[in-house]
Symmetry: C2
Subunit: 355 residues, 2 copies
């Protein structure tokens, strides 16, 4: 009998590290491989001021039932979000997204009009961020929809921001607000449960329309996230280059731990400084959840989390839409949340759990 | 009721064209979008002799039950092949593959050792062709294994060969031999059927080991295809640049029709000139199949199909491993096979049929 190690013993990040840690680049152009938001490939072209031009490359595989639920996600929104999360990865390296390819696996229940909807969403997201769709292929699938998107971007080598550059005393910043996308998901999941129950109880009865009034923001954050290229623009205008950066897909805690791990540092963030929209707070309360937990672990906000040198404090504090939530510490301090009453809690990674 | 157009009414290639035909590039760097083996992106760097340097980009999504069957494909071979088919797409543009990313969707039945096997195959293929693995991510899947691979490569702009460059009187060439991968697939499918039947008839009886002696070549062609970078090297040494090129994944007929469609031309190929290995012929006969049909429509050979100018005849005829199988004609002639007895048959596309 051959050995069988369950994937759950390693977890998502452990698994990737395990499978790729013996890979040694052979190509001189490979500047950064596995382990950041994007791969970085040098193009062998020097610009006068900023060093070599580089290409950024990121890819995402989205599977029905795991990453999305078509019971409540319209295909157009799905396409939009699928493109946006890849575009967000390019921004998270301080790059400019330029091109994107789409591969689809399609089961029989989808028709041409469905795919038109999906593509409409992808095209809209691309248009907004100046990205060209340069490749597409489709094949059949036995089991629902599979979407694989690859996005490439460009950046001058000296402009690229990695996860690994955070230094002790740097300020930790986050754009926008946190936890709303997670609240949107909870709302949609609740309505799905109600809908399923009604269908079981009274077959053929008129469908109850969910009342989402006043919750539009939460739903939009879940269904139609917007990659924050505008924040990079503001940072450039203020002449600030982050020391490290990542986008928030798995949740603030998880992403902060990535930065700490790659930068060999610790961090302190302050509960009172976490940017949480009032709708998120109200909804969290209704669900009997802590808004802080939603902000820390909710995920899918697609905001930018980054660190800047302490000397940039004055300038960063003036930029609208950016919040300073804490500071980078020495590695031995660990990663911690400091509550309103001064208690310290270690941050926990969430990430992907094997189903 | 909203309109529902079945995907089968368009077919694979029709569907992609339908979804992407209104896409207009916004990025000046987008040189070639949807519709060839790779996308071509200009890097804004000029080399002295060969014009701008370009990046090539290709991506493939492989789904269990559609593109591979783990009953008879070892995971290591699957990894090898998954990488190789992408590497082959870069070669089909006359480019040099350089980097690759891997995304996996994994259902619960896979363990860490399984993924090690899969990665071992991917790494081996990459090593052989000097390609770096620069990105990897995994997530769970509800239904078997999903593999998405993106490969990038580089080429000088003037070296790139498209599907669209074939001209009347050009010679049609193919590397290696055709139909063997398809015969390998038939052998494996037959053994699977036998195995399943035995299992049904005598539960718990000793498994009959299939006898594949003398058929190793066919199995290797199916399980372990080799992308033909060596052929490009030979063409370069002979100072021949093909006028058009594609790799054979769907079958010779299908790929030739792509070249004719993109190049606005017709073609004649000769039955007697199709390179078919004797093992393929013997096996086809045993299966009561025509070896010629296997060569035309079998697919998965991953050989290069290309055209060269008539003036290159002397030089191309001398290169070992390359066969001249016909010539490009005017568009109005259509695409045809000329049999040994001089009869003409129109070539038929196979491609992907929606399940």
């Amino acid at each position: 009998m051959s050995k069988r190690t369950e994937i759950s013993t390693l977890g998502e990040f452990g698994l990737i590290r395990h499978l790729t840690n013996d890979i040694k680049p052979q190509q001189p152009s490979t500047s950064k491989g596995v382990g950041d938001d994007c791969a970085v490939i040098e193009l062998g072209v020097k610009s006068k001021e900023k060093g070599e031009n580089c290409m950024l490359l990121t890819t995402d595989l989205l599977l029905e039932g795991i990453h999305f639920d078509l019971t409540y996600v319209p295909l157009k929104h799905l396409g939009y979000k699928a493109a946006m999360v890849n575009i967000s990865d390019i921004y998270a390296m301080n790059g400019q997204p330029t091109q994107l390819t789409v591969s689809l696996g399609i089961s029989k229940r989808f028709c041409v009009e469905d795919l038109e909807q999906l593509y409409e969403g992808i095209k809209l997201a691309c248009q907004r961020h100046g990205v060209d769709i340069v490749g597409g292929d489709t094949s059949s699938s036995l089991t629902g929809l599979a979407i694989s998107i690859t996005c490439i971007g460009q950046a001058a080598k000296d402009d690229i921001v990695y996860r690994s550059g955070a230094k002790d005393t740097d300020l930790i910043c986050v754009s926008g607000d946190l936890g709303a996308a997670y609240m949107g998901l909870q709302l949609l999941e609740r309505e799905k449960a109600v809908f399923n129950q009604q269908n079981n109880e009274q077959q053929g009865a008129a469908e109850a329309q969910p009342d989402f009034q006043g919750k539009e923001y939460l739903l939009e954050r879940q269904l139609k996230p917007e990659a924050r290229g505008d924040i990079l623009q503001k940072l450039r205008e203020a002449d600030i280059k982050p020391t490290s950066m990542i986008d928030i897909s798995d949740g603030l805690s998880s992403e902060l731990l990535h930065i700490c791990h790659e930068s060999h540092c610790g961090c302190s963030i302050y509960e009172e400084r976490l940017p949480i929209d009032y709708q998120t707070s109200i909804q969290a309360e209704q669900f009997d959840l802590s808004p802080v937990t939603c902000a820390l672990n909710g995920g899918e906000d697609y905001e930018l989390l980054f660190t800047v040198a302490l000397k940039d404090y004055e300038r960063i504090a003036q930029i609208e839409g950016i919040h300073i939530i804490g500071r980078i510490e020495k590695e031995e301090i660990g990663a911690q949340l400091i509550t309103r009453d001064g208690a310290e809690f270690p941050l926990q990674a969430q990430g992907w759990q094997h189903a």
